[in-house]
Each structure stands twice: as C-alpha cells, then as structure tokens.
Symmetry: C2
Subunit: 335 residues, 2 copies
Amino acid sequence: MGDSLGIRKPTLEEVAAAAGVSKMTVSRALRGAPDVSPETRERVLKATEQLGYVGNQLALSLSSQRTNLVAVVVPSMSNIVFPEVLAGISVGLEGSGMQAVFGLSDYDARKERDVIRDMLSWRPSAIIVTGLDQPEDTVKMLRSAAIPVIQIMDLDGTPIDFNVGLSHGKAGEEMARALIAAGRRRFGYVGSVLERDLRAAKRKAGFERVLLEHRLAFIGQRIGDTLSSVCLGKYLTHELLRAEPNLDCIYYSNDDMAVGGAFAGMEASRTDDILMAGFNGLELAAALPVRIATSKSPRRMIGEVAARLARGSMVTGVPSSGKITAFVPEIIGIE
Amino acid sequence: MGDSLGIRKPTLEEVAAAAGVSKMTVSRALRGAPDVSPETRERVLKATEQLGYVGNQLALSLSSQRTNLVAVVVPSMSNIVFPEVLAGISVGLEGSGMQAVFGLSDYDARKERDVIRDMLSWRPSAIIVTGLDQPEDTVKMLRSAAIPVIQIMDLDGTPIDFNVGLSHGKAGEEMARALIAAGRRRFGYVGSVLERDLRAAKRKAGFERVLLEHRLAFIGQRIGDTLSSVCLGKYLTHELLRAEPNLDCIYYSNDDMAVGGAFAGMEASRTDDILMAGFNGLELAAALPVRIATSKSPRRMIGEVAARLARGSMVTGVPSSGKITAFVPEIIGIE
DNA sequence: CTGAAAGCGCTAACAC
DNA sequence: GTGTTAGCGCTTTCAG
C-alpha cells in the first residue's frame, strides 16, 4: 500500500523548512513566479525533489477560488462515439493545465442531474454536457453554477451558454434527400430505444419529414429494446428483411446498427439491391467489404472545440463570439 | 453564463443563517447525521433548496482529509476496450459516492507519469492504472502516494499493491495451442506498433513461444506504424496475403485488427482456407458474417473489480486478501 | 525579492 | 440536539 501508509504527505511548509525559506517563497518558486532569486529557486526545487512533494490541488483550489477542472457528462461509454468525444476534449485541453472529470448519465435524466450536481460540487471552471434536452431543474442548476455551460452534439434546441454540434433533425433530412435522389424509394427503419437516444429520434423524425414531402413513408421498421449494437442491428435487420423482402433501403439509428445491418445483408445475399444507411461515419464503416451510406459526424472536433471554449473560460469570463458552433455532417457512401 | 456570473455560490454559513442555526448543524443535517431534530432538519433542507446550495467538495475534502475520488489512468480512448473498462469502473463505483477522475497516457510513459502526478495532487483515495510496466520513478511516486494502487489489464509482472487482469503472455500461448490443435500450421502475424502496446507484444511473444515448441514460426508478418484499427488490419492483411498466399492462419494484435483481416479475407475470397485470430472478444467480432477466433477478455469485469477494490480502500485501509485477481480469457471461434 | 497574516468552506473534536 | 474552536494546505494581500 505504498511506502508510507498513513504518513501524511509533505506540505509546502515542510518543503519550506527543508529549503530554509518561508512557504510563500516555495509557493512562488514552484509556480514559476518571476520574482524569486535563481539560487532560492534552486534550493526549493531540490527540497521538493528530496521530499517527493506533490502539491495539493484541494488546498490550492479552495484557497485561490478557482479550479483547473472541466466537468464532462456523457450518456454512455458503450458506443465508441462518446469516448472519441472525450479523446477530443482531452486533446483540446492539452497544455492548458486543465483536467477533465467525467461522469456518465446512462441516458437517464435523473441520473444526469445527480451526476451534474456531484460534478458542480467540485467547482469546475466549465461544464460540458451532452445535448440540449435537460429538464428544467437541471438547467436551473447549470445556470446558477455561474460557469460556462457547453452543450455538445446536438443543435436542435435552446442552448444555455455555448453550443457545439450539429442538427440531428437536418442530418436525418439530408440523408433522406440524398437517398431519394439516388433513386431509393422503399424504406425501412431499424433503431433502438428511441426515447433514450434523443438525437437518434431527431434524425428519424427529420428523415420521416422528407419522406412525407415525397409522399413516402417507412414501409417497415424494427425498434430494439436494448442499446444499439452491431449484434442488435444484425438481428433486427434479418427480422425486417423477412417481414419486408422488397425494401431497397434501410435507415438505422447509427452506424453500429447499420454495420450489423450490412452483415445481415451479406448473409442474406442482399448486398446488391439494398442500401444500408447509418449515422456517424465510424472508421469501421469505411473498412466494410460492402458499401454503406452514413453521415460523418465530427465528434473528435466537437470535443476539441468544446475543450477550447472551456479553456477560454479559465482566462476571460466570456468569449463574446462563437456561442454556437454548427457542423454539417458530410454524407458518404451513396453512389 | 448562468444567472449569477461572478456571484459567489452560497456557503454553509449562509444556509445556516437562513435556517437560523449554526453551520455545524447544517453540515450534520445535510450529511444525514442521526442527531439532528426532525424540525431542524426540515428547516435546513428548505433553506438549502431555496438558496440552491451545492456543497463544496474542495472544502469538504480538505477539511476531512479524505476524498471520494478514484483516479484512473488508461492509455487511450480510441479502442473500445478502455471505454468499456471505464464503464465497468463506473458501474462498480455506483452507489459508493465515489467519483472517477480519468486521465489518458497515450501509450506514453512520460505522459503517464505526468498525468499520474496531476491526479495525485487531487489526493484521490485510490488510483487505478493500466499495466505493470511503469518505469521506476512512476512506481516510486505511486508508492509514496500512500493509497491503494490498482494495476489492471495485465498480470505479467510485479504489482505494487493490487492487480486485476489476465496474463497476456499466457493468452498468446493458449491461442497458439488451440490453433495448432485445430490443425493450423502456416501462421502469419499482423499487428501495430508493438513497443507502444506492451500487452499486445506479450501476447505475440507467448504465441511465438508455443510456435517454437512445435518447431513452427511466423511465416510472414506486417507491423503497422499507427495505432490499431479495422482499417489498418484490413490493409496489412491484404499486403500479407499477397506476399504469403499460403498462410492458413493469421494472429492479430487485437480484434480490431482481426476484423479488418476478416474483411480483407472476404474481399480476397479467402474465408474458407484461412482463419483470423484476434484478442478481446469484441461484440463486433461475434456479429461478423465470417467466423474469427478470439480470446474473450473480461474488460468490464476488470473495471468492476478494480472499482470494488477502490471502494474498499475508502472504508478500511487494506483489504487483506485478493491482492491479485486473475482472469483466464475464454477462447472462442475455433472449430 | 521575501515574509506574515488572514482566510477559502468545510469538518473533527470537544463543549454545553 | 446544537454550538464553538481550531484547523485542513494553500494563496491572496499587504508589508517590508
């Protein structure tokens, strides 16, 4: 359990004693303040080294009334998309001295509120949350935190402060338009628990709006009752293909599901007459032996931009511009 | 930027004033201490509500000399395996009131050390790190942190305190044995930058040990110079198949690469005479239209067990037993 | 360039 | 049941 279980870690004061200066001087030297003589700094650094001193952020943050923390709340880790957003945040924060603290909401509004409250109790200097559909009380809590709130992924709604993402409604619309333009007419839908994944629901709604404009509709659909996965997509697609053998296109809640659909299509030898369309532009989708259509969502970039906004917040209070950063996903894999 | 930008958040003291009691009483009431009269508690809760009070963990932790933080350091988020470990940790921590703080090492020992130092400055009550191969100075830092150090994923080495994982050397050996038992003889290898992914390197070494026992060796191999991905696996497999057309089995650094290999095999119509073998047992691998071999690593479970150890540490100092939790991956997809 | 005093918001340990 | 006192380890502010 370490060399020194139960032995308090050295404090500034002890380093100061060892270096023969006051703790203020040590504090300054360690933070690289300009007004410390080189020799003093030298002695302080040596003492720090010898004692294995590690600063105490709790004391630092409490005393200085600011933290280097960015709270991040995402719904899940089971879909590679959110880890990629986190990776983007991590990159965007690099070199800023800021730390990301993550929490999972599990696509559950109550849980999200509790997680957010927990995170706020660490007094982060910014908070990044997923989506724009937080319930009233959560929004109130976020507002009164008096820190920048950065809502990511989704653009369809009213942001609290900053908003970085794309319109999922439009993404669904555009995909439908592109598929119809490419001659597809007999559409099916495969998704998973839509009331949990609000953004997938918005894409579906957008898709359906355009279908309606063209006097079309989903001929058949299958909605799973677990979270999206390749396996679920494959299973539901097999089912749907059995029920509706003459579809020429299936829209999926996301790429994981669509990849499963592509596998089902391969197994059913339907790769030539039916096109699977997903959302995200996963690396995996591009490597597939069959083509699928998808919208490339800039999830790493969303993370990076969000992180940049969070960094800014540590310096100034409010960047005056760029409250909303909108991305337009590129559609690939059609034609 | 919130309703009250720049306005200090309410403190215990203010809640106390509003409720007409001392801050100690508020503190006790909020923490659910037994010795507070129901009416007082009621008034305190009301005041808390009205003021929108959110506790300050910085002050709490500094004052009480303990945090509810578990530091977690993983190499990457780009491979679904680590997010899944994090999800497992998240589940394992649920209901304990503990928070996970994540950091990324990017498969870089220097960066890992810096990240660990940063995390330690928050005085977490336990730290979970990936692997057993930290350099000397990092180990020293971890030891002197005087908190439980939980090393996960890997078992091949000497743990600092707790160790939860599997032997990657043995995993490689077992896979080689199983493949040879199934009649495979002409092996190839496809991997990516092994000096970064130490565990993949251990699996490969184990695999080669068994090959040698059987007077066999890799006939051909391809090592990519980027991180593992489906795309890279596919590309390298195409290359390898061109160079060595009569392989009957390819071992991959992991399932992502192996899935790419499977795609390449499908494209080259080599699905019947060659078997791809990976590692992890990704959900994706099971859904594939062709069979691949893999070892199922219990990554969620590793996260959960690690989290449980971390929880224990908050209560007692040292759980006396179970310092090492060893998992044996199940091999699937052969025969 | 360096130091001393005060205090960040909370809890531990004791009084009452 | 409730209040008081004394810190936790650091920074801020003001003196020298």
